[in-house]
Amino acid sequence: MLEIDNLSHVYGGGTPNEHHAIDGLNLSVAEGELLCIVGPSGCGKSTLLRSIAGLITPTGGQVKVEGNLVRQTPDNLAVVFQDYSRSLFPWMSVADNVALPLRRKNMDKSRRREAAQEALESVGLEAAGRKYPFQLSGGMQQRVAIARALAYRPTLMLMDEPFGSVDAQTREDLEDLVLKVRGHHQMTIVLITHDIDESVYVGDRVVVLSKAPAHVVGDLKVDLPGPRDQITTREHPDFVHLRAEVGRLVRGHATV
């Protein structure tokens, strides 16, 4: 599904502010996998995500999605950004926000509206279509952003610290929402986070990045009994063990 080969990215190359964000990163993600990428703050996680999405052109190496080299945003890929308040369009109703990307899909207006409504239902916002983003709470706005990605029916969904700006309770709800929609839609998800617990709770697999310039320092399979539950999963010995291991990997490379 996703192949990342020797990826490197340098910002401001040749200037005094030269910054190596990623260096020689290799990663492959299988179809249907839910991969969490975790790493210390400022380690180049977002640069990695933007390279996969084709939003920036990496200075070295290559990214392939479904076997095709990424030069611009691949079809069948959708992104959920961290900053929902600046990613949703405030002048459009919630339903219009969700339906906007569907114009690319040769769907007529009524089918776009249906698909948007369906996506809003799957995130529990079936009644919010006519509202505007500013009328919703932060967690609900991020649900809208997730619905926008889902409506597009991507085969690969990228999530860039999607729960970084919401409170703890909302965060748990949204984590479970991702697990739920993932069961309904056949898709591969790459979720970037700096939260160690979250990566173990949500992921099938956790990849740990070093501090910048980022490369892979750990790759763990998460084999927890499902379905996952905010209380029982988090007290399961395997969960406790895994989060300790991920924590050591993250910390080991954050303090060097």
């Binding site: 079809d75 990613s87 990307p101 505007y132």
Partner: protein, 267 residues
């Protein structure tokens, strides 16, 4: 909230009444024919424009001859200048390089007081309607253009990345994202342009070659020593400017409802 709104409205009215009363007393004391009393001016306004038959909405023939041509000139000039400003502003604002290259020139053109160019327009268009319209359009195009370009330049970067991530076409990006993003600043420019268009409209009617309009009525009243009629024209312009601005605000509140609501939330 509501009670406070009412109180403000009452105080506003009291201030207005108070000022008119002082004006009335001042003119009564001065007894100078050049400064007729407000009551005389209102009576003259009524005679001139608002004592027509009910079938004509109480407008007199004089009103049709004075007010309509002025409003027509202003509307056409404003529409043309605003459209030109929005289109050119978007074109300039879409490219950072074009914006940087042209910014100085545009600021220079905007800084020139339009009346200083009136002879240029007379040479190009001669006396009459064409010259007046071109003059109004040229005067108001700059604030609209500069504000629109500024608005188009200040689109939220994450909105543009979202466009890219969801593969929106160029047209979708322009009409559904960049244009709405530019609207708040565009409206600030349009509001400036509206008050400016009233000013240059009157100015253009003071020029020779005009036979109707409020500006013409002002000159005519002055030359025939009908000073209450001259003052009636001045008051009428003030009232028109006020009403047009209020109308504009109603439209703006509707179009930018999302913007104001989001702003209130942030504040």
């Amino acid at each position: 909230m509501r009670g406070r709104g009412m109180r403000t409205a009452v105080f506003r009215l009291l201030v207005l009444v108070g000022l008119v009363a002082i004006w009335e007393a001042g003119t009564w004391a001065a007894d100078n024919p050049f400064f007729p009393r407000p009551s005389t001016i209102v009576v003259r306004m009524h005679e001139l424009w608002f004592s027509g038959p009910p079938t004509a909405l109480f407008l007199t023939e004089g009103a049709v001859a004075d007010i309509l041509p002025s409003l027509g000139r202003m509307a056409l000039g404003f529409a043309g200048g605003a459209l030109g400003g929005v289109v050119l502003g978007l074109a300039v604002g879409l490219s950072a390089r074009v914006y940087d290259y042209l910014d100085g020139v545009l600021q220079f053109l905007r800084a020139i007081p339009p009346p200083a160019l009136v002879t240029v327009f007379l040479v190009l268009f001669g006396f009459g309607l064409r010259m007046q319209l071109a003059f109004i359009m040229f005067s108001i195009v700059w604030p609209v253009l500069l504000n629109t370009a500024d608005g188009a330049r200040s689109v939220e970067p994450l909105h543009l990345q979202t466009c890219q991530a969801f593969r929106l076409s160029r047209a979708e990006r322009l009409f559904r994202v960049i244009l709405p993003s530019a609207l708040p600043k565009m409206f600030a420019g349009l509001r400036l342009a509206l008050s400016l268009s009233l000013i240059v409209m009157v100015f253009s009617e003071l020029l020779p070659g005009t036979t109707n309009g409020i500006g013409f009525q002002l000159t005519f009243a002055y030359q025939s020593f009908d000073l209450p009629a001259m003052w009636a024209g001045i008051v009428l312009l003030g009232v028109l400017g006020y009403l047009l601005n209020e109308l504009f605000l109603v439209v703006e509140r509707r179009v930018l409802a999302w913007h104001h609501a989001a702003q209130r939330l942030v504040g």
